[in-house]
């Protein structure tokens, strides 16, 4: 069977397909024109768009692990940190590598790919012994890894400068473009990487390995009977996800120019996870939407609400309100949002057809499918 070159609209036909094409083209156009629109409307959101777009890259990568392969990774920020620190090691004058510290900084783009590779290698190192675990156990191990990495960074100041952080960090050098205080070049760099990530992940979803992930998620025993090597298939998803995270980490480090262990805490992993769950696990468009919504709430809406609350506080002369920072409550707000989603729409706002089917198997397929579901669980217990 012939497959189209871009996997994006492969699964749909007719009206749904042309709608999807328009959404894609419109989305790309909007993303490219955003700084102009922003300037025109005077919103001043450019600096906020950079982290939002970056977190969407993270979400796309985590979607490969959790959405496609069904492996719950709660320590995703660890790979983000590994990417960022690899970038710093390769390009910062504070690098523990003597050769780099003496002024031989590696080219940014080369360092980007090396760092993503380093993150992927760590993905394999963590994954190889642990991916034999199932479900909750894997989540616990990755949770631990997510805690260990920032702690190791914190406690090895001779290598990583500990809590003091590393600074400065190399930045991209393209003739005629200044990667400095202005967020616009960064924005375009990130959007370029983001588009590349969308192409890669949407191709993967419909590829042979994508089918193997879907099969594995549905029934590991049957998947093994089909000749799918469970360990390498999982490992591939895991290390690929890690390399996306590492990739994002390199840009993040370079953009901020200073990195410290606190930036890669557990709440980053959870924030990205909430993005993909809210948007719709497994569905690339949904994941992007989830990232935009949560990123927008976190970076834009909270500021705005804080402004209003402060205004009210000033008006009624209440110091508590006047100094309240709404974004401090983000954990609480996102937590509530997640619980709410799980109750009313567990498949996310824009679910993939397959996920939706998985979560509503019993209603749709009737008892036999639910029966099979239980059989799978029994198998897992063994």
């Amino acid at each position: 069977m012939k497959r189209p070159t871009l996997g994006w609209w492969y699964t749909t036909t007719g009206g749904a397909r042309s709608r999807r094409v328009w959404v894609t083209v419109g989305g790309i156009a909007l993303a490219l024109a955003f700084p102009i629109i922003d300037g025109f409307l005077g919103l001043g959101w450019e600096a906020k768009a950079v982290p939002i777009a970056l977190f969407i890259i993270l979400a796309l990568g985590l979607n490969v692990v959790v959405g496609f392969a069904g492996l719950l990774d709660l320590g995703y920020a660890a790979f983000f940190a590994i990417g960022a620190y690899s970038m710093a090691f390769l390009t910062s004058p504070q690098s523990p590598i003597p050769w780099v510290a003496q002024g031989n900084q590696v080219n940014f783009f080369l360092a980007m790919f090396i760092s993503a590779g380093v993150a992927a290698v760590f993905g394999v190192i963590l994954g190889a012994p642990t991916l034999r675990l199932r479900g909750d156990y894997l989540a616990i191990v990755t949770l631990g890894f997510g805690e260990i990495v920032p702690l190791v960074i914190k406690n090895t100041p001779e290598v990583t400068k500990g809590t003091q952080g590393m600074n400065p960090i190399g930045y991209p050098q393209i003739p005629g473009v200044v990667f400095g205080a202005s967020p616009i070049p960064w924005y375009y760099l990130i959007v370029a990487v983001l588009l590349l990530s969308v192409v890669i992940t949407s191709r993967l979803r419909i590829s042979r390995i994508g089918r193997a992930w879907a099969a594995m998620r549905e029934d590991e025993v049957a998947a093994a009977s089909m000749g799918i090597n469970l360990v390498t298939t999982k490992l591939f998803a895991f290390s690929l996800g890690a390399s996306f995270s590492g990739f994002a980490g390199t840009i993040w480090a370079s953009y901020l120019q200073v990195i410290a262990p606190e930036q890669f805490r557990f709440d980053v992993s959870i924030f990205v996870l909430v993005m993909i769950i809210l948007g719709g696990l497994g569905n690339i468009g949904g994941v992007i939407a989830g990232g935009l919504i949560l990123g927008g709430i976190d970076r834009i809406l909270f500021d705005w609400i804080s402004g209003i609350v402060h205004g009210v506080g000033s008006a009624i002369n209440n110091d508590d309100l006047r100094l309240m920072d709404v974004s401090r409550s983000r954990q609480l707000i996102f937590g509530i949002a997640l619980v709410f989603m799980m109750l009313v729409r567990p498949e996310g706002l824009f679910p993939s057809a397959r996920r939706k089917a998985e979560l509503h198997a019993a209603e749709e397929l009737g008892e036999p499918a639910a029966e099979q579901e239980r059989a799978i669980l029994v198998e897992v217990e063994e």
Binding site: R208, R211, A212, A214, A215, E218, D219, V221, A222, A223, A224, S225, M226, G227, I228, N229, R354, A357, E358, A361, E364, L365, P368, A369, Q372, A375, E382
Partner: protein, 236 residues
């Protein structure tokens, strides 16, 4: 030389010894059946051959390859397809996707003749390609499970209880299809509780009891055997 030679395998679930030295030989082109009651070790034997379970002792040889040291995905590549107990089709995927997954290990990309073979054997499958596999009837699911295994273009087909939970008419249809598959040149190792049907299509059979082989003979002779008739064919 036999196509498959299972030599004294002992397989355990934890500390429970499920197989206590099973020896089976399957020749090219045969239908061989394993019969026995619940818990006799039929499914365990099949799963050990497929590499999903590992024996603590014994060898399983296919040609020169020792399957006990081969990962399950490689075993499929070597030409052993396993249609597991309870069918285990991918219920939420389409029928077509199920078939595609059956051909997962195939590196040659031309699957047209394989699809055609499945469609010829199971015309019903062809009518339902786009349907979600979980919405098929039990009989159709069984056909899909067998069709999916055929997509790997195996030399040896392991079938685990294909008649389970099917209406008598469908049971007959499934067994007739197994004969057709065999006539196409494929060797079949069939595990069945329905001893009567299994012996009627098989060349040879093994009778399992609590992890041991208690009897082996041609299918005809087994069907005449006093013990088999009493214990498994429900005759007095």
């Amino acid at each position: 030389m036999a196509l498959l030679q299972v030599e004294g395998i002992h397989t355990y679930y934890g500390n429970i010894e499920a197989l206590k030295g099973i020896t089976i030989r399957v020749e090219q082109g045969e239908i061989v059946t394993l019969i026995g009651s619940n818990g006799a070790g039929k499914t365990t034997t099949l799963r050990t051959i497929a590499g999903v379970l590992r024996p603590r002792q014994g060898t399983i040889r296919m040609g020169d390859v020792d399957l006990t040291k081969t990962p399950p995905n490689e075993i499929v590549r070597l030409g052993i397809a396993h249609s597991p107990e309870g069918r285990r089709i991918f219920a939420r995927m389409s029928v077509k996707e199920n078939l595609e997954l059956g051909a997962y290990t195939r590196s040659d990309s031309d699957l047209t003749s394989d699809y055609e073979r499945v469609y010829t054997l199971f015309p019903r499958i062809k009518e339902r390609l786009k349907q979600r596999a979980g919405t098929l009837s039990g009989g159709e699911q069984q056909m899909l499970a067998i069709g999916r295994a055929l997509m790997a273009r195996p030399t040896l087909l392991l079938l685990d209880e294909p008649s389970m939970g099917l209406a008598p008419v469908l049971v007959e249809l499934v067994f007739r299809t197994i004969q057709e598959i065999n006539a196409l040149g494929m060797t079949v190792l069939l595990v069945e509780q329905n001893a009567h049907m299994a012996l009627s299509i098989a060349n040879r059979g093994y009778v399992l009891q609590t992890g041991k082989i208690v009897l082996t003979d041609t299918a005809k002779a087994l069907a005449q055997n006093e013990m088999v008739r009493k214990a498994y064919l429900g005759e007095d």
